[in-house]
């Protein structure tokens, strides 16, 4: 990777060829003629850092970005974890979780834990995975750091080298006021903040009000497994963003961008608001497996469209109840594969016409009371009434040789005159029927009706069961 004619970072192969950061691009090309140079894109780096900051919201709400600098390949995130240690069970667990999370998203990481933000930054620049929880030990360690390796202002670094100052301990032995005059107040201020002698206020990262994250794929992808893997990064950012806002997502849209083709929108709906990454992944996997891609995908965008507040829930003391939470996860998995309309709840509608008395609803909810009706109603209502044969004064169900026996009735249902003449798919129209309970020869209990206005007149409408 290069910017302004200088190598900023290089991979292992280039390193073996002798290319090193800081080298001019011409020199690097001379050492490795097949060098693949990638221009630096600061805007994308900043976007990636923001996404990572969103993800880090699942650890702490107080995050600060150290945006990438011109001459520095790495950028940094500062997480204030002092107040969250108890929640996560100690420094070690939180650092393990952060490292694993960053690695899972495909980034490399160096981290340090220290009581001062500037101290942690400097430790991370020089050493691997250092943890200092007390200020004295931090000061002792900081004092040994070589000045040349730190990101002090360039002028100050040069001056200090000219003084013969090698480590921070050397620098701090000099009188502060005189040092400030020579290398600038900035550098001296940085040192004081690193050692915790001055407060170190940082601009907090402001979580975006709407979640919308983009991910450009390194190469066009045409299979579900690779897409699922790529979407993991966006999913992690979304989970952190939701955690910081104490919210859950009930609906989001994954846009799949194709080269020179309109994007495919893949809406993901959840039966209840969630920020559980595993649930998200299950639904996404079902949807992706059933999606026929029109073209290879070269970028993803995840947009959260339905956000609901999701308070934490208390655990049960005695037994884990899988009640509603497990049910919601099951329903959204069924819906992802079978379609939204295939999984539904039932509700009663205040309506006399049987076809209209059942409402199918997406989420089952407390019924508006049981209908206080003495007349019998069947458990199953045929999707469309079946005509009955009438012969010799007796009724015969379809494909049956023996006649029906009428046991109860008639019950007149007459309603819907206001919809007369609207006999289309949506409305039922005016209904005037006499319902009977009938027993078929094979022992089935039927709900049949007679409609004088239709030819034949007798229909099978429901099954008691």
């Amino acid at each position: 990777m290069a910017a302004h004619g200088q190598v900023l970072a290089c991979d292992a192969a280039a390193d073996a060829a002798g290319v090193a950061p800081g080298m001019s691009l011409a020199a690097a090309r001379a050492m490795a003629p097949t060098l693949n140079v990638v221009a630096r894109d600061v805007a994308r780096e900043t976007a990636a850092l923001s996404a990572l900051a969103c993800w880090a919201g699942s650890f702490t709400p107080r995050i600060s970005l150290v945006p990438p600098r011109q001459d520095e390949a790495a950028s940094a995130l500062l997480l204030e974890i002092g107040t969250c240690l108890r929640l996560f069970g100690g420094i070690e667990r939180i650092t393990t979780a952060v490292s694993a999370g960053v690695a899972a998203q495909g980034y490399s990481l160096r981290y340090a834990v220290a009581p001062s933000a500037q101290g942690a930054l400097w430790l991370a620049q020089v050493m691997e995975a250092t943890v200092y929880s007390n200020a004295t030990a931090l000061s002792a360690q900081l004092a040994t750091l070589p000045v040349a390796a730190l990101d002090l202002p360039p002028q100050a670094a040069v001056r200090l080298a000219q003084f013969g100052v090698r480590t921070l301990a050397d620098a701090r032995r000099l009188p502060t006021a005189a040092l400030a005059r020579r290398i600038g107040q900035d550098a001296v201020g940085m040192m004081a903040r690193a050692f915790g002698e001055l407060p170190d206020p940082r601009l907090p990262f402001v979580f975006p009000a709407q979640f919308c994250a983009d991910l450009e794929l390194p190469a066009p992808v045409d299979n579900a497994a690779a897409l699922l893997f790529a979407a993991r990064r966006l999913k992690a950012a979304l989970a952190g963003w939701l955690a910081a806002r104490q919210s859950g997502v009930s609906e989001c849209i994954l846009h799949l961008h194709h080269h020179q083709q309109p994007a495919t929108a893949l809406p993901l709906r959840f039966a209840s608001a969630t920020r559980d990454a595993a649930r998200f992944e299950r639904v996404l996997r079902e949807r992706l497996e059933r999606l026929a891609l029109t073209a290879p995908v070269d970028a993803l965008r995840l947009e959260a469209t339905g956000i609901e507040p999701l308070p934490g829930h208390s655990g049960s003391l005695f037994e884990a109840s899988h009640g509603t939470h497990g049910m919601a996860a099951l329903l959204e998995r069924l819906r992802a594969r079978l379609g939204e309309t295939s999984v539904h709840g039932l509700a009663c509608r205040a309506e006399h016409r049987p076809e209209r008395a059942t409402a199918t609803i997406a989420v089952a909810q407390g019924g508006n009371g049981t209908p206080g009706r003495a007349a019998p109603r069947p458990f199953w209502l045929l999707a469309r009434p079946q005509a009955l044969r009438e012969r010799g004064g007796r009724l015969y169900p379809p494909r049956c040789k023996d006649p029906l026996q009428l046991l109860a009735g008639p019950e007149r249902i007459e309603s819907g005159w206001w919809q007369e003449g609207e006999m289309d798919g949506a409305s039922l129209g005016d209904v005037r029927r006499d319902y009977f309970v009938a027993l078929a020869a094979d022992g089935r209990w039927l709900w049949i009706y007679r409609d004088n206005r239709l030819p034949g007149g007798w229909f099978l409408h429901g099954l008691f069961s």
């Binding site: 009640g323 295939s342 709840g345 009663c348 008395a357 089952a364 045929l382 004064g393 026996q405 022992g443």
Partner: protein, 254 residues
């Protein structure tokens, strides 16, 4: 090996829930939910519908009374049986016809705890239904799963039985009568048939315990009828009493 040791080992083996002797019910108490029919409970191992095991109901078509047979258990599941201890979900997978909500509500089923999975008709409908049932059982979220399947093969039934084993839920698979002769993994199989006077004939064709050859006649709640006999049909002067007059005949088991 000493004799006492061998006896202990034998007792251990016999105590396993998946081992049972032909002559008696398994010694371990199964977690069963009373079916609400005393005559049936007396014959079911554990004294009710088994939780965490698949129960097959063999019945042709809908309308014989299979829902009425399960109603007391479903009411108990949704917490509407007066004890109010459960409040669990029930799931209907691929029902033969659309359910009529007022009837279910009037029968005491809490509609807020009932979900219906009706895969869209098509080539995949049958496999989707079995998949949905297996997912539901594997998730252990619903406390009762009722599935209708005509095309489930022995392998699919075994998968359902395995999924049910971990769930602790009531699992019912309703299959056509023609599958009675097939060997399946379900530990409890019931064959249903119509009986005179609105009763339902139930024959236990497989259970963990001694075989039961005699059918049970259960009285189910039926829609209120005006007259049982000699009801003057509005159509025919003479009533057809085909069922009432005929004694139920059981087809021989293949």
């Amino acid at each position: 090996m000493s004799g006492a040791n061998a006896l202990n080992q034998l007792a251990e083996v016999l105590a396993r829930p998946d081992v049972w002797r032909g002559g008696c019910f398994p010694g371990t108490s199964l977690l069963a939910l009373p079916s609400g029919f005393a005559a049936l409970d007396a014959e079911l191992p554990g004294g009710g519908w088994p939780r965490g095991a698949l129960t097959e109901l063999l019945v042709d078509g809908a309308g014989l009374g299979e829902i009425s047979l399960l109603l007391p258990a479903l009411r108990a599941i949704c917490g509407n049986d007066g004890k109010g201890d459960e409040g669990g979900w029930s799931l209907l997978v691929a029902p033969p016809h659309p359910p009529h909500a007022p009837a279910w509500a009037a029968a005491g089923i809490d509609l807020a705890r009932l979900m219906v999975v009706a895969p869209a008709a098509g080539k995949r409908a049958a496999s989707d239904a079995l998949w949905a049932m297996e997912q539901a059982l594997a998730s252990a979220a619903p406390r009762a799963v009722l599935g209708w399947s005509a095309g489930a093969d022995a392998r699919a039934v075994r998968r359902l039985q395995v999924a049910a084993g971990g769930s602790g839920a009531l699992a019912f698979l309703l299959r056509p009568l023609c599958t009675a002769a097939e060997a399946t993994a379900a530990p409890l199989r019931l064959r249903l048939c119509a009986a005179p006077q609105g009763r339902l004939g139930v024959q236990l064709i497989k259970r963990r315990g001694p075989p039961l050859t005699r059918p049970l006649w259960l009285t189910l709640p039926r829609p209120k009828t005006l007259h049982w006999r000699n009801h003057a049909s509005t159509l025919a002067g003479a009533p057809s009493a085909a069922v009432a007059a005929r004694s139920p005949s059981w087809p021989a088991l293949a």
